[in-house]
């Protein structure tokens, strides 16, 4: 899940009486779980909100290559290096499907990238944290892709057809990543004392950033109502976060690691684990650009784009020459 704090473009949820005929027909489709397709009529605010959400998700996949790329050259075995390369390749592929989904809404990839580079669009807060040891790579697969799956499985039911289909495809690959990540961290947790220490450090550092991925608490998530009515968002932030905590705590225990939060406790009455809130002031700081890696991540992406300009221009010029030669020959 790589979309957080998406501001819903809307003046508030309209009642049926307030809707135009077109809007009512649109809402009926959504209520009956009929997917909205690119050529269908849709309210402008629905379109705008989806572009923001899908765009942010795409950017997250692309920026997400960086913290993992940080360890590709240091992967400890050939197999681990191959697994990590395949994973990063998948992430870049997810970026492509998602940009394509955004294009079906009339927004070009170049424009979305420009907005990202100008700081006007965001990517998931999680990628502003560093990967500091090899266990972090296992933890990213297990916790970060794990959190993404919880959100994305819900989004498979989202109302916009191309987005829903992208989620179905992406979830299959993410599940594989999460399993591989858990396997990698198992090796560390059950390894030498130094490896166990790395695994513990990874869980301690990444736990709260991972549960922040679901966005602010429902009470502070004021934009959700319209997105829920449109089924752009399918479950609330707190519901998804609880689901993630419930599935992950037993996995940490299985690894024999200390829980990263002393308040994690099974609550018999609720049938869920209790846990501490993350430090939301940290979250809002990361979103604002003050996370440990925000500046470097954007510097890397902007440099890659700027340094690559001559390549894109060169290939385009060549394609145009070829097309012109073909026309001349006909």
């Amino acid at each position: 899940m790589y979309a957080q704090m998406i501001k819903t473009a809307s003046a508030g949820v309209k009642s049926r009486e307030e809707m135009t005929d077109q809007e009512r027909e649109f809402q009926d489709k959504i209520d009956n779980d009929i997917k909205i397709e690119p050529r269908d009529w849709m309210p402008d605010d629905y379109r705008r909100t989806l572009i923001r959400q899908i765009g942010q998700h795409a950017h997250s996949e692309v920026v997400g290559q960086l913290p993992e790329g940080n360890w590709i050259t240091r992967a400890p075995t050939l197999e681990r290096k191959a697994i990590l390369l395949a994973k990063v390749q998948d992430e870049a592929g997810h970026g492509l499907y998602l940009y394509s989904a955004a294009e079906t809404l009339g927004e070009s990839r170049d424009e979305l990238v420009r907005l990202l580079h100008e700081g006007r669009m965001k990517y998931s807060s999680i990628f502003n944290y560093p990967t500091l040891n090899w266990a972090d790579i296992g933890a990213v697969g297990w916790l970060v892709d794990g959190a993404a799956i919880v959100n994305q499985v819900a989004l498979q039911r989202t109302s916009y057809g191309p987005y829903s289909r992208a989620m179905i495809r992406i979830c299959k690959e993410e599940s594989f990543h999460a399993r591989q990540g858990y396997h990698a961290i198992m090796k560390m947790a059950f390894g030498t004392p130094e490896q166990t220490r790395q695994a513990q450090s990874a869980v301690d550092r990444l736990w709260f950033p991972a549960i922040m991925m679901f966005g602010p608490t429902d009470a502070d998530s004021t934009n959700s109502d319209q997105s829920m009515a449109w089924k752009i968002k399918v479950k609330s932030n707190d519901e998804l976060r609880q689901q993630f905590v419930d599935q992950t705590v037993p996995q940490i225990e299985y690894l024999g690691l200390d829980l990263p939060d002393p308040n994690i406790k099974w609550n018999e009455e609720r049938g869920h684990y209790d846990f501490s809130d993350p430090d939301w002031s940290e979250f809002f700081n990361v979103i604002k650009g003050n996370g440990p890696c925000n500046v470097d991540r954007m510097k890397d992406r902007v440099a890659a784009w700027d340094d690559g300009e001559w390549v894109r221009d060169g290939l385009l010029a060549h394609a145009q020459k070829k097309a012109a030669a073909k026309v001349a020959a006909e």
Binding site: L78, G308, H318, A319
Partner: protein, 254 residues
Amino acid sequence: MSVDKQQLLQFLLRQGDNTLVLGHRVSEWCGHSPILEEDIALANTALDLIGQTQMWLGYAAEVQGEGKTADDLAFLRDAWDFRNVLLVEMPNGDFGQTLLRQFLFDAFQSVLMGRLMKSSDEQVAAIAAKASKEIAYHVERSADTVVGLGDGTEESHDRMQAALEYLWPYAGEMFESDDTDAAMAAAGVAPDPAGLREEYDALIGKVLGEATLTIPDSRYNHKGGRNGAMHTEHLGHLLTSMQWLQRAYPGCEW
């Protein structure tokens, strides 16, 4: 004719170290390429190269017969024991230099693999058969990109010409022959690389011509990688990152 194990080992290390070192170099691009499609393509190329490394070095370890694995060979040898050509350890430079290096290597591999598929050594033939499918795609892609950038804008042309001039003196080492090559040729395991030059020159001549690039006149070439006599200064730094975890935490399972 029976093959000298030491010579076969040298031959296999040359194959595996080429793909290992180049795979590592290509993987350094992760997340930094000019466009998303290229991030995917570069990761895919690196992945193929690492996969080929697992096969070559896996077989090398078996031939060596000391109970070692492909990982031991990749992560626990020092630079002087590496047998890759200097070309693959050269730094990435800009995207054009990376793709030109890739093309010079892919073209060689595409010529070599055709021969290795007919190797008298069944395992060499099997590895070559598997790798050749990937290499056919690699050379097509690197050739297309070299043509696109060479015959693109004035800037892209100039950058590609500069890359060719920088890398050209490293192409010739791929065709050096020594006792190991003679032994492999005699046993029908692999061709003498010197005999592949003509086919290679025809292939790259066609692509570089289409790319409007000029091949430098000089045939002088640097060497010392494939026999380990003298690598570049770059290899040590590459191994420093690649081998760090295995060196810092010896004997672990990962």
